[in-house]
Symmetry: D2
Subunit: 280 residues, 4 copies
């Protein structure tokens, strides 16, 4: 049987991957949730028809949304992950001995359940004693928890459906208030090939809220274009000015190491240009 999962990542382009079988299908309160077993990437979680994570390449996304900010902050104790119900970002956060509390504010409890059932290596850390799982709207959680966090990671789905509000300026303002005075945030901000307007807008919005704003990228095969961007907003610490000698080498990573901490900010020209709108 030739059974292929096809994601049209844009109206005109996509990936297609041979599947062994479907493992789970559910219409949650917020989105369509599918788990499929692929030949190439192992188990794959798909939300509203878009790949969220896979066994094989999840480490890239989860490490890269986490370590740049965590390793830039000198002493992250309280960390919040907005979204990220699969638990991968939390797993990476917990690699820092300084962490006392890691809150997961995920709106869709079914995503957490599915991750625990089908992605034990990703979701395994959710049972750690330092983890506080809040099944709630991240925007609301932010509003209710001011001046509390050292690091906030916005590990959202695409900017459609439940995650729309997570790509808008008022949300970043809320994050700034939820962060302590030397806090730092990072958000996944889509593909530099396919989402140029969005990246530019988010960068501008975050720039207006945070004194230090930085964009960096990582290569993720199952995400649109294979190249993904992350945007940092920081009140005090600049990831480019960290003392490389003092960077932690988190144990168990497969992508991040201190050597790439600054190099990932060396953007190709076409990515630099999207921030200014030049060449569009």
């Amino acid at each position: 049987m030739e059974l292929w999962y096809t994601e049209k990542q844009t109206p005109n382009h996509g990936i297609t991957s041979k599947i062994k079988r479907t493992l789970h299908h559910e219409q949650t309160e917020f989105q369509k949730l599918d788990i499929i077993e692929t030949e190439q990437f192992g188990n794959m979680m798909v939300l509203d028809g878009m790949v969220m994570t896979t066994d094989q390449d999840e480490f890239v996304y989860h490490e890269m949304i986490t370590h740049i900010a965590m390793n830039t902050h000198p002493n992250p104790r309280n960390v919040l992950v907005v979204g990220g119900g699969d638990g991968g970002a939390i797993r990476e956060v917990l690699r820092y001995p300084s962490v006392e509390k890691a809150v997961l504010a995920e709106i869709d409890g079914k995503v957490i359940e599915a991750a625990q059932n089908y992605f034990p290596k990703i979701a395994g850390s959710l049972t750690d004693a330092r983890v506080d799982i809040q099944v709630t709207d991240g925007i609301q959680y932010i509003a209710e928890n001011k001046n509390k966090f050292d690091v906030i990671l916005v590990d959202s789905t695409e900017p459609i459906g439940p995650a729309i509000g997570l790509f808008q300026k008022p949300f970043y303002e809320g994050i700034a208030e939820a962060l302590k005075e030397d806090g730092i945030m990072v958000a996944q901000t889509e593909s530099p090939w396919f989402n140029r307007d969005l990246i530019r807008q988010v960068f501008q919005d975050i720039s207006q809220v945070f004194p230090i704003t930085r964009l960096y990228t990582a290569s993720i095969p199952t995400y649109p274009s294979g190249l993904w961007s992350f945007t940092i907003g920081s009140k005090k610490y600049d990831p480019l000015k960290v003392d490389e000698e003092k960077l932690i080498s988190p144990l168990g990573t497969r992508y991040y190491h201190p050597g790439i901490h600054r190099s990932v900010f060396q953007l190709p020209i076409f990515v630099q240009e999207l921030l200014t709108g030049k060449g569009e």
Copy 2:
């Protein structure tokens, strides 16, 4: 009409792209050559069913196979491109004022013709007076031209069909002889996700021929996994030891700039590990 080009980049995974129309189909002496017009990436050249280049993302590959080596060599005058019949690498080579002669040794003249017809922005430099087009077997050309080149770029197709010999140690030995005593070579060496054994083997082979061997990567959306590797073999100059102040900023590039010259060598751990076989 829904007409989609699908490339199975591995037996179990691939890309699918909506096409407007087919522009050209030809069985050359060496391979199947197709030109199709896609909605997402513009014109696309496909050899034996594998995407070689597209209007939209060609600049990444052509800049990144060229500028690291060219900018590492202090004074590249004679340059050879093996393969690369589309002319993109030659275009980038000619951005260096020091270049006196750029030889293109492409085995399949039909690729050159098709590029000139359907990719004028890529192939346009092939009419430059400094360019010497040799429609010939690159291996043989190498054998007949010893001690001649400052830089040699191996811009081959995948290691099947006409390009198999270009991924084998005797070829790198021939390149070493064709290079001058301070010459430098670079080869495209496939995906760190899907071709780990190949990359490791090529890296080992080149290491045995050249005193300095380095691997770097770039993000190319239409290539398998979106992440591509290049391997450098150098007799004298180390790309990591160049004086950043002296690096040229080639005019007209959209990916390469001196700022990334060293950062592209900062490999993710899983790429580092493939060189040693660790974690396989």
Copy 3:
């Protein structure tokens, strides 16, 4: 290169066919017109993303829309084909020596041109001296030509876009007026699997206009479900009451012969039932 044409014949099901190349792409005044060369069915004409005809199986449709009515009428001299710009129905009409004039009323002249360029075996008869090509709206042509035709064939595209009016009752009333007092019409009426409501409606409409109404089917691989229906409206002659001895054996057919003239009206129960709405 794996290049496949995919037609979603319904939102949830379709055919996919390997193509050699695209031959023609055009946005006409009325519709999108594509000609592609497939491996399985030879050249294929696609209008607005739906297969209209192919080299390999065109004979089924063209013979079956034509011969039942033509062979039921004892002496068809003036024949009108509404739509049918590829010329296939005209070719079949001309197999009857009694025919003096065959009018083709096709709204889209580009379809005729494309058929003449890419389907010479189908369109070849359009140059016959008895053929009168009218590039015009069939509905208007019907309105202006009353009491003129012995047989009218409605060889339309799907009931979306330019052909919508050809599936509505006022059109059948117009046809009745354009036919002579013993005239007979036939219309292609889609798939008994996928278009049950449409077939029932058209059958009822034609029943209210013509004293004799009959449905029959034929097997066409490239049409949705592979089973296609045709509906006859007749003023006088009943295809089921023809004297089988007097039926003509048209020369050159590959599907129709007098032996199937009546058997095609022996409908499977599930097709019978769609006419009454039973079992829906």
Copy 4:
């Protein structure tokens, strides 16, 4: 999520159908067995990558492999189905009150189990007291049961894998011996569009074993080309010479009725010609 099942029914053409989920995947002793839930056709059983049956259109195949032979024999009491593990042919056989015993000789018990789990409407009759299920090689069963059956239905998979022997002359000779002196057999014999050589060969083989040999067709949307053939071999009774008055109207059918008993033998010319090889 866009998840589509694609069957390449030939190397160059196929169907593609949107699926809700996979229900079952199993490598049995004999073949790969998949059950998927499709949007268009409901549950679908796929053996070695080929659609065997679906909820929506199964009735066509099961009725048409059964009723022509059953209704041609004046008094079928002992019936054998070779293959047919889904139980659909048995269900149809049991519509005849004359039937005393219906043996199912299916080589792959897993097919029977899967049908009982996922296709209760098809497999439901397998628990009837008249049914004798033999999980065994049909060829061997035939060899061991001579002069026993009034009707034998060969409800095989495609002529690759476990079913190869069921398309060869020695098997038909065995069937002739397993039948009583007035017995009748029928075999499914693939598509008149895509399997012309096979149909011709099987027809010739059966003609050399049985005095009366007849080919008929039915329309099945999920089978290659949508048109399917069946070949009858009969020792005494000719389906074309039955007294239409005496035909039984089996209760509950949705395709077959006495009115089509003879009309299905009225073959299109291109099907007639494949029997003689003319026009190939």
